[in-house]
């Protein structure tokens, strides 16, 4: 099976993620977009492993790591978003400019 369609899928997913991250104003949606990008990477890892892997399931292992890291990241990210929402009654990223120099 050719690897190309899979790579097209993953690049589409990644591009969607980039677009979502940059364009959405809601913080929760931005977090979701980041999850999309991570999953695009996961697909790539497994595809490359299936196509050219030589020493075992390194790609799969990496993927499992990534899923774990992504779960942790979402946990922390959502916690931050909830706290910010409680303090400022909004999840709009454009309003969070406290760090302006």
């Amino acid at each position: 099976m050719s690897i190309v369609p899979i790579l097209i899928l993953s690049s589409a997913l990644f591009s969607l993620g980039v677009y979502g991250m940059l364009a959405r104003r809601n913080a929760v949606m931005v977090l979701l977009a980041i999850e999309l990008m991570l999953n695009a990477v996961n697909i790539n890892l497994i595809a490359f492993e299936a196509a050219w892997g030589t020493v075992g399931a390194i790609g799969q292992v990496f993927t499992i790591f990534l899923i774990t890291v992504a779960a942790a990241e979402v946990g922390i990210g959502l916690a931050i978003v909830i706290l910010v929402f409680r303090n400022r009654a909004t999840a709009n990223l454009d309003d969070f400019t406290l760090m302006k120099g």
Binding site: V18, M21, F96, K100, G101
Partner: protein
């Protein structure tokens, strides 16, 4: 081992086999270090736990007493001669700075005396000083005082001796000026310190001379060189011995450097007791004893002066004690007089007699001071015009004071009798010029001593009470040391009875260097009679003069001879003479220094200053302002400007940052693709 000791022709007892003393001697350093540790501990704790000040000090001193007493016991039974020195550095080629301790007959006797007297004084002081200012600090200084004296006594070399010597001076300064709020007291401390400093110049120069002459700082080697007649030593022996004696004159308060001691009464009474009995004034006599072989051998010509200065001191200061109204000052002049006896004995070559008197005097003089302190504590005055009739109020104090006085007066069979008699014999058999004249001076002193003590007892304890309120007997912690010291004052003389038992002479002769002893082998009955008759005469005359009670103490104190009395009241005008002398030198010297200062030094200083100012001006305008500052300002402007621009990039919008990040990633991807 017996070859270490060569007893003189008159010595009677063969020295026992010498030993090194074992554990106690090897670890004598604990005894030397402990007082300093306790002084620091007291200072650390003192602010919060005042009572611990006295507890730590007494606990520490108990150990010193036990260790010192054990060493003295070993020295008596086994004849310990032990010396330990740890090198701590070199000076030049052959001179080693060392730290160590000596345990022999002389030093262990001193450990015992210092330990005993200091322990009793500490116990006494814990009660005497109760409620006083700086209670804990006082005990820290007392510990320092005792520790300094132990370091001095233990020193196997002359450098450590000087260190201990100066530490004693510092501690005495702190203690004499304990009530420094009063200007007089702090001046008294200063006076003691400065007079001692004058003498210390002699000590230090003398020490350097004999050390260079002998080629070593070690006392045993110095004494060895003195005995062998080493070339270098022969040249400096007389001058060195003389200068060392000047140092001893300061600490042991010999005429005319005695002026500090009566003023030192400004300190609290326990300090006086400690200072007069064990820790300070005995240092000079100890120095003479430690270097005795030097004075016996090459330094022999100096002995005439030592003997005469001792004789002058014992007579003149004894007379001064007759006119004092301050009870403590009577005792202070009495100490001076007794120190005169010790020094005379040393000068006459009577080693045993001198330190035997030191030994007995330590007990009865500590007793007299502590008893006087007990009276002063009750009456709240030093002045005998406020006393009288105390006998009825304070029986224990009265009895112990009486015992101390009898011991001091030299009446048998108390301690002072034996030591004074030993001194008289020692002077009599000395082959030093003028010893017969000095002998009569000493017998005159034996008359004066009971005279002033009878006066002091009559004015203080007899007649009717002339002060205010009603004095009460001191608490147990104060009377117990008095009783113990009284017992010691009775028995201390029995260790050296000529012809019967002469243990003391043998014990203190056990030293690493050979020495000749001049020692009485039996009573000289003519001298004994002369001494006792003089003492009894003193008591009788004293009682006739001062025994009668009168309306006031001034009226009772009727001993006023026209010329002599003002002379004595003004202490031979010695203090005035010193002030005049200092004034005489100070004026021209100050003017000369001022002239040098304003014309020579100032000119140089001003020239250098002007040069520096000029140079500074050039550096400032040219280099600093135009060069360095410009560069620095430029740098700062650059940093500021770029910072101003760059801060615009930081918008605080997370998505802009993310966008920049993606852009960067894209650029990298393109770059990798392009490169291949």
């Amino acid at each position: 081992m017996n070859s270490f000791i060569k007893l003189g022709a008159l010595a009677v007892e063969e020295v026992k086999e010498l030993s090194t003393g074992g554990w106690a001697a090897e670890n004598a350093w604990i005894m030397l270090v402990l007082p300093f540790v306790s002084a620091l501990a007291i200072l650390a704790l003192g602010k919060r736990k005042k009572l611990w000040g006295s507890r730590i000090a007494i606990g520490m001193m108990s150990y010193v007493f036990l260790h010192g007493g054990w060493l003295w016991y070993l020295s008596i039974t086994q004849g310990v001669v032990y010396e330990k020195a740890v090198s701590i550095g070199d000076v030049g080629q052959n001179f080693h700075l060392e730290w160590g301790w000596v345990v022999d007959g002389l030093s262990s006797m001193m450990y015992f005396v210092v330990g005993t007297v200091a322990l009793l004084v500490f116990i006494y002081a814990s009660s005497y000083m109760k409620g006083e200012k700086r209670y804990a600090g006082f005990f820290a200084s007392l510990s320092l005082f005792a520790g300094a004296m132990l370091v001095l006594v233990a020193s196997p070399n002359i450098v450590q001796l000087i260190v201990g010597w100066e530490l004693v001076g510092v501690a005495s300064y702190l203690l004499i000026g304990h009530y420094w709020e009063n200007k007089e007291n702090s001046s008294a401390g200063m006076k003691a310190f400065l007079v001692n400093k004058v003498a210390d110049v002699g000590l230090i120069i003398g020490a350097i001379m004999v050390a260079v002459g002998a080629g070593s700082f070690r006392i045993t080697e110095i004494l060895h060189a003195a005995e062998e007649g080493t070339a270098g030593m022969t040249k400096v022996a007389v001058a060195g011995a003389g200068l060392l004696f000047i140092g001893a004159m300061g600490k042991s308060a010999q005429f005319p450097l005695h002026v500090w001691l009566p003023d030192a009464m400004a300190g609290p009474t326990p300090v006086s007791a400690l200072m007069h009995a064990a820790t300070m004034v005995t240092a000079g006599v100890y120095l003479l004893a430690r270097f005795f072989p030097l004075y016996e051998g090459l330094g022999e010509p100096v002995r005439v002066y030592i003997m005469w200065i001792g004789a002058i001191t014992l007579l003149l200061t004894g007379l001064l004690a007759l006119v004092q109204t301050d009870l403590k000052k009577v005792l202070a002049y009495s100490t001076l007089s007794q120190l005169g006896y010790m020094v005379t004995a040393m000068g006459a070559g009577a080693y045993t007699a001198g330190i035997f008197h030191l030994f007995t005097h330590a007990f009865f003089k500590a007793l007299l001071f502590l008893a006087a302190g007990s009276v002063i504590h009750a009456v709240h005055s030093n002045d005998m015009t406020d006393m009288g009739g105390i006998r009825k109020f304070m029986p224990t104090t009265y009895k112990t004071f009486l015992i101390g006085s009898i011991a001091l007066a030299g009446l048998p069979p108390l301690a002072g009798f034996f030591s004074k008699d030993e001194i008289l014999v020692g002077i009599d058999i000395a082959n030093v010029t003028g010893n017969q004249f000095v002998l009569w001076t000493a017998i005159a002193g034996a008359f004066i001593t009971p005279l002033y003590m009878t006066r002091a007892i009559a004015l203080t304890f007899f007649g009717s009470y002339k002060g205010h309120g009603e004095p009460h007997e001191a608490p147990k912690t104060m009377t117990i040391p008095l009783v113990v010291l009284a017992a010691l004052s009775v028995v201390a003389g029995w260790v050296n009875i000529p012809g019967v038992y002469t243990g003391f002479a043998t014990w203190t002769a056990q030293r690493a260097e050979e020495m000749d002893l001049h020692h009485a082998e039996s009573f000289d009955y003519a001298l004994l009679t002369a001494g006792v008759v003089a003492a009894l005469l003193g008591v009788v005359v004293g009682w006739r003069l001062w025994g009668k009670d009168a309306e006031t103490q001034e009226a009772r104190d009727t001993f006023e001879i026209p010329v002599l009395y003002p002379l004595l009241r003004n202490k031979y005008y010695l203090d005035d003479f010193y002030l005049w002398l200092v004034g005489l030198i100070k004026g021209p010297l100050a003017r000369f220094v001022d002239w040098v200062n304003s014309y020579v030094i100032d000119t140089i200083v001003n020239a250098i200053g002007a040069m520096m100012v000029g140079l500074g001006g050039i550096v400032y305008t040219v280099l600093d302002q135009k060069g360095i500052d410009l560069f620095m300002n430029g740098l700062a402007g650059l940093a500021g400007g770029s910072g101003g621009k760059l801060r615009l990039l930081q918008t605080g919008r997370v998505q802009q940052y993310a966008g920049a990040f993606v852009l960067g990633a894209v650029v990298l991807v393109i770059a990798f693709v392009a490169i291949g």
